[in-house]
């Protein structure tokens, strides 16, 4: 049998890129991907083109559905482009997005990169020690900046982190005040920990990629090489001739036989079907699209798979003493601080990211103040500089809140529910008040169903055969299959509140490393 490659990887996001990085040590894998890339050059753009777009795409939320400022931004549109036509979803309430871009959703990510510790991996058939070597290698490969030891991880102590991104504005003040001895003891007692974010952002040159330049344009301009995304790894491996990469292909299904695995893909330009043969197939198309490929391959139209996502809430804070300060446009506009809550008021740890509001257009908040337009304009120029938003992520476990199934026409029926908590928000509001940051419970906003973009758990890892063989074993192998593996977050049986990207990558490397051809 002539194989196109010993191993085929589907997808070039965090899972696909990390698996390719690992496999390139022993074979030359073939990566199949839709691989949409940025349509425009990212230099020489006018401010209008970057922020609103020549076709005013950045204003779509005024008359249509809400979309986060980054994904609405014209130069980031490619990240979520075409998924509705190519990966259709039918849903009453799903407000999420998928990505078919080269490098996946990570093209527009907040670049938070954290290890899962054993508490996070509770319910997984693997432990932190299984992932440890891959966390270490990825930290070196990506270049991760950060500082505090907030979690039970190892990369702080071994000195492999780059210096943390400099703090500015409200984030700086919040961090400094949380370090005062009395405040720090009080926060610890309540189970609140405030520390520096761990980010895939280069605070000094690293492996040929330049140091990050702070210009306040992170929400509008992609492809800065100093912010990592997996597309760089794919490109690097391709340049070294360690992988074959074919873009413009949408993988639909696979067939496994004694001869090997036939991977059926549609060439998007011509609409023709292409078949690729391989010994082993690693699917890293994202939790939702990986499930779609698996269900299509087994023609499973009755199965209902779980769908996990991190419920999200947003708490706006105002630092009263900083009212009247202008926005600092020369700082990092992503999340500068990590906030952890592990008090008894909630069953699992809750993780948050604290953002200054200097990154987006002021007009995004124009209607968020409950006053008339002139008063709101005053608020924009005099309050935004003193404001920060704490975005909280909650953990998720299989239940009735989220599930998906495949319709015979290839459309996925997706069900998601909005979940509102509130107890943790109240504690944080009260605790932050002591640090000079004010908010009120009625100002808390909750993310829409699917709006976290962190999807997982559709083909969960288990030591036992479950879900009629549609789950995976601890090596990510589909229980119904011999050499087909799911390598992305679809294999997570639970979804901790912690950012999952680094663990997706480490787990994909673990599966790839143990692959016996």
């Amino acid at each position: 049998m002539n194989y196109d490659s010993d191993v085929i990887i589907v997808g070039s996001g965090p899972a696909g890129a990390a698996a390719a990085l690992q496999l390139a040590e022993k074979t030359k894998p073939l990566v199949l991907d839709v691989g949409i890339t940025a349509a425009h050059k990212t230099s020489d753009q006018s401010y209008l083109t970057e922020t609103l777009g020549t076709e005013l795409q950045g204003l779509s939320h005024i008359t249509g559905q809400y979309l986060s400022p980054k994904l609405r931004s014209p130069l980031f549109r490619y990240v979520t482009g075409h998924w509705r036509e190519l990966s259709p979803i039918r849903s009453q309430n799903f407000r999420g997005e998928l990505s078919l871009a080269m490098g996946g959703f990570a093209n527009a990510w907040g670049s938070g990169l954290y290890e899962f510790d054993d508490e996070d991996l509770r319910g997984f058939p693997i432990q932190q020690a299984d992932l440890q070597p891959y966390y270490k290698r990825l930290t070196e490969h990506i270049g991760i900046s950060g500082g505090d030891k907030l979690f039970g991880d190892s990369i702080v102590s071994d000195g492999s982190l780059l210096p943390a991104v400099p703090l500015s504005g409200p984030s700086k003040n919040l961090y400094q005040r949380s370090r005062y001895p009395r405040a720090s003891v009080s926060l610890e007692r309540k189970g609140i920990h405030i520390g520096r974010q761990r980010l895939g952002i280069l605070t000094r040159p690293h492996r040929g990629r330049p140091q990050y330049v702070f210009d306040g344009q992170d929400f509008f301009r992609p492809s800065k090489e100093s912010i990592y995304h997996p597309g760089y790894t794919i490109r690097e491996l391709q340049q070294c001739n360690k992988i074959d990469f074919k873009a413009g292909l949408l993988v639909k299904r696979f067939e496994e036989s004694a001869e090997g695995i036939a991977v059926h893909a549609v060439e998007l330009e011509t609409g023709a079907e292409e078949v690729f043969w391989t010994r082993a197939l690693l699917i890293g198309a994202g939790a939702i699209n990986t499930a779609r490929i698996v269900l299509q391959s087994f023609q499973e139209y009755a199965a209902k798979l779980p769908l996990l996502e991190n419920p999200v809430s947003f708490i706006p804070f105002v630092e009263l003493s900083a009212l009247g300060s202008p926005l600092d446009r020369s700082s990092f506009t992503g999340a500068q601080l990590a906030v952890i809550f592990d008090g008894p008021q909630h069953r699992d740890r809750v993780q948050g990211s604290f953002y200054n509001l200097s990154g987006v257009l002021q007009s995004d908040f124009f209607l968020d103040f409950p006053l008339s337009t002139r008063a709101n304009r005053y608020c924009l120029t005099n309050i935004l500089g003193a404001m920060g938003v704490l975005q909280l992520f909650y953990s998720d476990a299989p239940g009735t809140a989220g599930y998906l199934s495949l319709a015979p026409d290839g459309t996925l029926n997706v069900h998601c529910e909005q979940r509102r908590y509130g107890a943790v928000e109240k504690i944080l509001i009260k605790s932050f008040r002591a640090l000079g940051f004010w908010s009120l419970p009625f100002l808390v906003r909750y993310g829409e169903p699917g709006g976290s973009f962190h999807y997982a758990g559709t083909l969960p890892m288990s030591r036992h055969e479950t879900m009629k063989g549609l789950a995976t074993d601890p090596m990510g192998r589909l229980q119904r299959s011999r050499m087909v593996f799911a390598i992305d977050a679809s294999t997570f049986p639970l979804l901790p509140a912690k950012n999952l990207s680094l663990t997706i990558m480490a787990n994909a490397m673990r599966i790839a490393a143990k692959l016996v051809l």
Binding site: Y47, L48, T51, L52, E55, L56, G58, L59, I62, T63, G64, L320, S321, A322, L323, G324, S325, P326, L361, Q362, S363, F366, L367, L371, S372, T373, R374, A375, R377, Y378, C379, T381, N382, I383, A386
Partner: protein, 155 residues
């Protein structure tokens, strides 16, 4: 605060109702609400916004902005009252779009005139006092808006 200055009609015949033209609308909204003269680029962008989002604007509560312009009504008061009733209405959407265009205009102006964008810090106390006053003013605007909406049957 109600708009006092009439819209100049130099670019159109005096007796023709021009207020339904996006160009006239944007000039009116920018002057009366933002106190800023829109640049020619802003006027073009507003017209473009009308063209691109024409269909989706039709799905919102329709407010006769032309009537506001023709009768020189207080757009700020009317918009605030309408927003408290139904946020998705065409007047709020158009004003929001103006806010974006004027923000871009400010950056473009700052790029051509160095130092224009620099702003003095206000003290926290000044801001808090100002917010108190603006809250009172907002309450007044709401009443004024409600009266105008019912008088001119705008909603």
């Amino acid at each position: 605060m109600s708009p006092k200055s009439p819209i100049p009609s130099s670019d159109s015949p005096a007796n023709v109702k021009t207020s339904d033209l996006p160009q006239v609308e944007v000039q009116y909204l920018c002057r009366t609400i933002f106190g800023v003269e829109p640049s020619s680029a802003t006027i073009c962008r507003y017209a473009q916004f009308h063209d691109i989002y024409r269909t989706s604007l039709l799905t919102q509560k329709q407010i006769d902005v032309a009537l506001l312009v023709d009768r020189n009504l207080d757009a700020e008061a009317i918009e605030f009252f309408l927003r408290t009733r139904r946020r998705k209405n065409t007047l709020t959407s158009k004003i929001w779009a103006c806010a974006y265009f004027l923000e871009v205009q400010a950056v473009e102006d700052a790029a051509s005139v160095p130092g224009l964008r620099r702003r003095q810090n206000n003290s926290a106390v000044t801001v808090m006092l100002m917010l108190g006053w603006l809250s009172l003013r907002t309450a007044f605007e709401w009443v004024k808006g409600a009266l105008a909406v019912y008088r001119y049957n705008l909603a």
